[in-house]
Symmetry: C2
Subunit: 154 residues, 2 copies
DNA sequence: TTGCATTACATGTTATAACAGTTATTATTG
DNA sequence: CAATAATAACTGTTATAACATGTAATGCAA
């Protein structure tokens, strides 16, 4: 019996354990998803990380967030928030303002153009979500979530 | 009710759908895992991709594989196999040989040092696997695998 | 209130990722 | 069999990732 992930990676030998297989499948699935997302977003000159940051800032509203807080909320850690924000600012999608209370902080806010940008990519991402997650019923999604939670709590 | 992933990313608003939440949790979990793996491997001067390539070549044995085949078997796609192999060759972990039958191909084989390197990191990775996957029972692993398969088949 | 630690951000540097284009070799087609 | 296409690997280039270090502002303790 050859598992799906085993065939996909053209492995001639079966996995040593179910844990091995699940870990590989997890990394593989995330890579596939990430690739599809980057593909879709690149048409709008965005990376997945940039889109993630825009979503975070949209959620923060007019209050904004400082750079560190943006970094903390990212799905995947970004080692250089400053320059990621530089690029978004250069594209006019965010704006930064030195905080007057604590002048170490820089408050970051999404611009109207940034909001429009997020709106623009939404249909594409909705289609992607339907494509990849569409085959899963609620029970599967719940089981997936609880398994992923258990892994991260390790 | 605040979900685990929601709290982890400090999101004040719940996810729009379970599919959304599962997709984010998946990308997040893979990032956490990838980070832990890179951390562990960096002590041995290896990246996750390099370790993956070494495992692939170990599986191929003395027959070896050509560069393209290594690329096809990678968990995460690498856009520049040549230079990843350059680095492994410079470290003495693989060796390359121009194929005499089809001179376009270069056969890649793992060296004794490469095999030793894989052996050396094994205890560390076994510990990581226990840490992250240890909390999951067989049912959860099976459910996880089938959900991931369903996602990738989208 | 002065010195030191901490925080937040910025900057410098190196290696790698990502993309495009090149070369050498083999396969295919008229 | 010559011309063309296809394949595999290599190379060049730019932007970004990753890591370390630097700098300015604030908190805190003696």
């Amino acid at each position: 019996m050859v598992s799906r992930i085993q065939a996909e990676l053209k492995q001639n030998k079966p996995f040593r354990s179910l844990k091995d297989e699940a870990a590989v499948a997890l990394l593989r699935t995330a890579a596939v998803l990430d690739h599809a997302l980057n593909d879709a977003l690149s048409a709008h000159d965005l990376t997945v990380a940039q889109y993630n940051a825009l979503r975070i800032l949209r959620g923060a509203g007019s209050t904004g967030l400082c750079g560190r807080e943006v970094g903390e909320r990212m799905i995947a850690p970004v080692p250089d928030v400053t320059r990621m924000l530089d690029r978004l600012e250069a594209a006019g999608l965010i704006r930064r303002e030195r905080d007057t209370e604590d002048r170490r902080h820089v408050t970051v806010r999404i611009t109207a153009a940034g909001l429009r940008c997020v709106e623009d990519v939404t249909p594409t991402l909705t289609a992607l979500e339907r494509r990849f997650m569409g085959n899963l019923d609620n029970d599967q999604l719940t089981a997936l979530l609880s398994a992923l939670d258990a892994i991260r709590s390790g």
